[in-house]
């Protein structure tokens, strides 16, 4: 496997060389099954890339991820930053002439990455999602102050956003106590059953 210059840094014109010898063709079928999207429909017009607001923070453009999957380059997909950077805003989907549900494709790829213990290129994104889910598990709703505090502990980054947090507290935008559901057992049960079939 030979990769060169695969970081596009927002420059779509940069040449990318990937040798695809023994591609895993089962992978693209699995992504299609989970997402309901037909990845062979993509003809790389780059409409998705042109509209993506966060392409600069990705290593592969959205259509590039589809190309990797088409070539069976499973590890490149599952270890990419792109699948974690995509926020699922659907801007690409409305631009796509083939109506590919890119957000569903990314969801499918993240799911496979987690289930197969792939190396996570953007661990902070996953940490944040896990903190949000932990909050929902405990309270049934998101408690933003606690999510932020726990996220800070996990990423050991205490100083970024201290000023933002204080301004939000001053403007009463961060509640000290969580808004909670009454029947917290419902949520605990839901998460327990989720854990029993495989942890998120």
């Amino acid at each position: 496997m030979n990769k060169r210059n695969h970081k596009n840094n927002g420059n779509l014109q940069r040449v990318m060389t990937i040798a695809a010898g023994n591609g895993d063709m089962g992978f693209v079928r699995e992504v299609e099954k989970r997402s309901g999207a037909d990845l062979s429909a993509c003809f790389h017009c780059r409409c998705c890339a042109g509209g993506c607001p966060f392409i600069e923070a990705m290593d592969y453009a959205p259509h590039g991820i589809i190309r990797l999957a088409q070539l069976g380059l499973r590890d490149e997909v599952l270890q990419s930053a792109t699948i974690w950077t995509c926020v699922g805003c659907h801007t690409c989907s409305i631009a796509c002439p083939m109506a590919i549900d890119m957000a569903a494709v990314m969801d499918a790829m993240r799911g496979i990455a987690l289930e197969t213990d792939a190396a996570i290129a953007e661990p902070d994104v996953l940490d944040f999602h896990r903190e949000v889910l932990r909050s929902i598990e405990r309270y049934g709703r998101t408690h933003k102050l606690e999510i932020m505090m726990r996220y800070k502990v996990k990423t050991r980054d205490w100083f970024t956003d201290m000023d933002v947090g204080l301004r939000m507290l001053a403007k009463r935008k961060l509640d000290l106590l969580p808004s909670k559901v009454k029947n917290t057992q419902d949520l605990k049960r839901m998460f327990r059953e989720t854990a029993e079939r495989g942890t998120p």
Partner: protein, 284 residues
């Protein structure tokens, strides 16, 4: 409108509107009351799963949203104003209808029936049919307010939902019917970044600054947002010293019908909109 019968609606506020954006929640409820709708909060609703549940576990995301559908009373339409909550609730409803046994399993799990015909309506759906010009005759209106509409990602939807009604231009239409002046610009549908705001503040900050600069260049006095999360990301992530305020759409509507005075909504903004609102004589 006041002469017609009042209409009760189930209401799903969602976490942002229930906590960080209470001003969005209150102004929405008061505006809806004013135009004839009584909002009744769904009892014991839970988080729709937000951007995080579907990012790591598709099934959990469906389960979270679906529990809320079991809590909504049969026959009364369910209103949500948060675009992402609405998307998740609609996704769960489609999931229950299309996946064999999904509805039966959901009902067995919670011991409650799900109304498969529950009408899910977004705040925009409610406004699309409303006659604002009629309302304008009896209200102070928004004369003199120049704004740019910020939709974020709410008008972009997954392909499976592309045949559902869309509301391009709705904020411009409604607010100009109420006397405000929309300005044309190119950043109304740039995504606010959702969770990247926390994880990659550098990336989102640059994006948000571009949004503010373009709004000011378009001659707007304020931005108007349709989503509480967009509102928060715009407010907390901008690094610009001087920037125009951001109003929730519901605040602009409540102001237009004269419900803005004496409210504590505007002191909750990071960029204080009160000087602007006073100079436009929208608050005292």
């Amino acid at each position: 409108m006041s002469r017609s019968k009042r209409i009760p609606l189930s209401y799903f506020p969602g976490c942002s509107m229930a906590t960080t954006a209470k001003e969005n929640n209150r102004s929405l409820i008061e505006f809806c009351e004013r135009i004839g709708y009584d909002l009744i909060e769904v009892p014991d609703w839970n988080c729709c799963g937000s951007s995080s549940a579907h990012s790591v576990d598709a099934e959990l995301a469906q389960d979270l949203a679906a529990r809320n559908l079991t809590l909504a009373p049969k026959g009364r339409p369910l209103l949500a104003a948060c675009p992402n909550c609405m998307l998740r609730l609609r996704g769960a409803q489609r999931h229950l209808a299309e996946v064999p046994d999904a509805q039966q399993r959901c009902e067995a799990r919670w011991g409650r029936p799900v109304d498969p015909n529950l009408k899910l309506i977004h705040f925009f759906d409610l406004l699309a049919g409303a006659d604002m010009k009629g309302l304008n005759k009896t209200s102070p209106g928004l004369k003199g307010m120049k704004f740019v509409p910020y939709y974020g990602c709410m008008l972009a939807r997954p392909p499976a939902m592309r045949h559902e009604p869309n509301h391009h231009g709705l904020m411009e239409k409604i607010l100009s019917d109420l006397g405000a002046e929309p300005r044309r610009w190119g950043y109304g549908a740039r995504c606010c970044g959702t969770f990247l705001s926390v994880v990659r503040p550098d990336v989102v900050g640059a994006m948000v600054d571009a949004i503010f600069r373009n709004a000011a260049a378009a001659g707007a006095d304020c931005l108007v947002t349709a989503c509480a999360m967009c509102h928060m990301n715009l407010e907390v992530r901008s690094t610009l010293q001087n920037r125009i305020p951001v109003l929730h759409f519901s605040e602009a509507l409540a102001l237009a019908v004269g419900e803005g005075n004496g409210k504590d909504w505007f002191s909750r903004h990071l960029v204080d909109p009160r000087p602007l609102l006073r100079s436009a004589r929208l608050i005292a």
